[in-house]
Amino acid sequence: MEIDLERLRELMQAMGEFDVTRVELEDEEERLVLERGHLASAPQFTHAAPAAAPSPAPASAPSHGAAAEPEGSFITSPFVGTFYNAPSPDSPPFVNVGAEVAPGQTLCIVEAMKLMNEIEAEHACKILEVLIDNGQPVEFGARLFRIAPR
């Protein structure tokens, strides 16, 4: 049997795209069966549940960064707390969109328990977008900045 891997891959991709779970093709010489999902179905079920379920009160977490899912790289919050883009209300922001940032440079503050935690850039990067408004609460892992690594 000749396996046309490229075609098969394309077919698989199409199955995923259109949520097709089974393809059966048969002619006099050959038979092809593709199935999608069995193992994957359990986690999908899990995943679908919270969305589909009539949740008693949808978890209105202060900041679910994942909602809009913009593409790219992100700097996320290592702390729960309140996001500040400047050292004080009167100061200019630590960084603006378009800023080229050096490693170790302060990007913002996440305040918790009266402690001002400065969030620093780990690597050199460019700020493409500031995702949280000044003074807004953020949870652990919330996306703060969309960046382009350099």
């Binding site: 359990a42 899990t46 919270p50 008693p56 729960v80 309140t82 949870e139 652990f140």
Partner: protein, 451 residues
């Protein structure tokens, strides 16, 4: 009453607290680690805040993150559940400093009952019966002197230990000579406290504990006992209320003694006083737990009171809602802890639950923290659900639990349901005359039954 309570826990106890809050009309905030994004407490709380990564130190034990979550959600109280930060006096103090009500005892009570040696001394002063035992041992020779005075076998214990950790059975003086330095080093490493003491060791002990509740406004209740002798390595597996091994006279004495003790110390909130019962039925104090316990539902089932709701009301400054008077348990209740583990090797068995069917019907209560499709994380304890059966008699409760286990279905992971079936079918268990060595003996029988 509180407007919003943050629950600093996960799993079934987080659900338990959310349920009590909802019934009291209080909004709830769940906190969770990133592996718990899809957990049931996150789905069922009014709000949820991700506070850290899977490691408990980063999330469920991360005090600054929990306080910050309370700050950003505007919670006015924190319920710690059991485990994690529930007996951490420093956390309770931090809550108070940050203007949050800690739903539990005062920090000083947590502190003094949390230290084994202080607790023993306090209990003695309060007239709570004690096993013969020593104070903190100066050295090996002191240990041997005390061991001989009490009479071997003795239990060598770490002052800072608890929950079965830091304990060694010592059958003679020679063994004590080698075990002492070793236990000291262990205690030093494990609890940052090398203090050791010895106690009389009971060969066939039973674990009996009393539920107490006090509102700090003069209301004190001793709500009967629980029997928790079905244990594996000091971990409770199945509990019942009342105990069928406790002498009614001792029960009455203990009710009076504990009532006085709780009133004298000014203790507030729910708590549990744990005892070891020897072969002759005498109780001796083990420890006082200053939190709600996993097995609290068996007490709730026989007295018809919601202990967590009472605990929350008390923290909000209210009085106990039910009248004082002798507590007569109505019927009998049994709880099975359903764990994600291999029923024979006890190896934890995290992973995705493909199908979940909880038991139902007359006399069955289920406290669970999972659902079909949930992936049980490896990072936390393996408790999936508690099944509680109530009946007019112990036999009725056993029959009910037996059939409930038959309809408890988890696919995708292994659970200890088969172990619970074996316990309920075991003649020693059914007779009601069993000790904490029951499971050990059952395992040995099972091993010898195999060719």
């Amino acid at each position: 009453m509180f407007k919003k309570v943050l629950i600093a826990n996960r799993g079934e106890i987080a659900l338990r607290v959310i349920r009590a809050c909802r019934e009291l009309g209080i909004a709830t905030v769940a906190v969770h680690s990133d592996v718990d994004d899809e957990a049931l407490h996150v789905r069922f709380a009014d709000e949820a805040v991700r506070i850290g990564s899977a490691a408990p130190s980063s999330s469920y034990l991360n005090v600054p993150a929990i306080i910050a979550a309370a700050e950003i959600t505007g919670a006015d109280a924190v319920h710690p559940g059991y485990g994690f930060l529930s007996e951490n006096a420093a956390f309770a103090e931090t809550c108070a400093r940050c203007g949050l009500t800690f739903i539990g005892p005062r920090p000083e009570d947590m502190h003094q009952w949390g230290d084994k040696v202080q607790a023993r001394a306090l209990a003695k002063r309060l007239g709570i019966p004690m096993s013969e035992g020593s104070g903190v041992l100066a050295d090996v020779d002191d240990a041997i002197r005390e061991g001989e005075r009490i009479g071997f076998p003795v239990m060598l214990k770490a002052s800072g230990g608890g929950g079965g950790r830091g304990m060694h059975i010592i059958r003679n003086a020679e063994r004590l000579r080698t075990a002492f330095p070793q236990a000291q080093a262990e205690a030093e490493a494990g609890f940052k406290n090398g203090d050791l003491y010895v106690e009389r060791f009971v060969e066939e002990p039973r674990h009996i504990e009393f539920q107490i509740l006090a509102d700090g406004r003069g209301g004190v209740r001793v709500l009967g006992e629980r029997e928790c002798s079905v244990q594996r390595r000091h971990q409770k597996v199945l509990e019942e209320a009342p105990s069928c091994g406790l002498d009614p006279e001792i029960r009455a004495d203990m009710n009076a003694t504990l009532r006085r003790a709780i009133a004298d110390t000014g203790y507030v909130s729910a708590g549990t006083v744990e005892f070891l019962m020897d072969e002759r039925g005498n109780l001796s104090f083990m420890e006082m737990n200053t939190r709600i316990q996993v097995e609290h539902p068996v007490t709730e089932m026989v007295i018809g009171i919601d202990l967590v709701a009472e605990q929350i009301r008390i923290a909000a400054g209210e009085e106990i809602t039910f009248p004082d008077g002798p507590v007569v348990p109505r019927g009998h209740a049994i709880e099975c802890r359903i764990n994600a583990e291999d029923p024979d090797t006890f190896a934890p068995w995290p992973g995705p639950i493909l199908e979940y069917h909880p038991p139902g019907g007359a006399g069955i209560r289920v406290d669970s923290g999972v659902y079909g499709g949930f992936r049980v994380p490896a990072a936390y304890d393996s408790l999936l659900a508690k099944v509680i059966a109530h009946g007019r008699t112990r036999d009725e409760a056993i029959a009910r639990m037996r059939r409930a286990l038959d309809e408890t279905i988890f696919t995708g992971i292994r659970t200890n349901v088969p172990l619970h079936r074996r316990i309920l079918d075991n003649a020693e268990f059914r007779s009601g005359r069993y000790s904490t060595r029951l499971l050990e003996r059952m395992a040995a029988e099972k091993a010898s039954a195999k060719p």
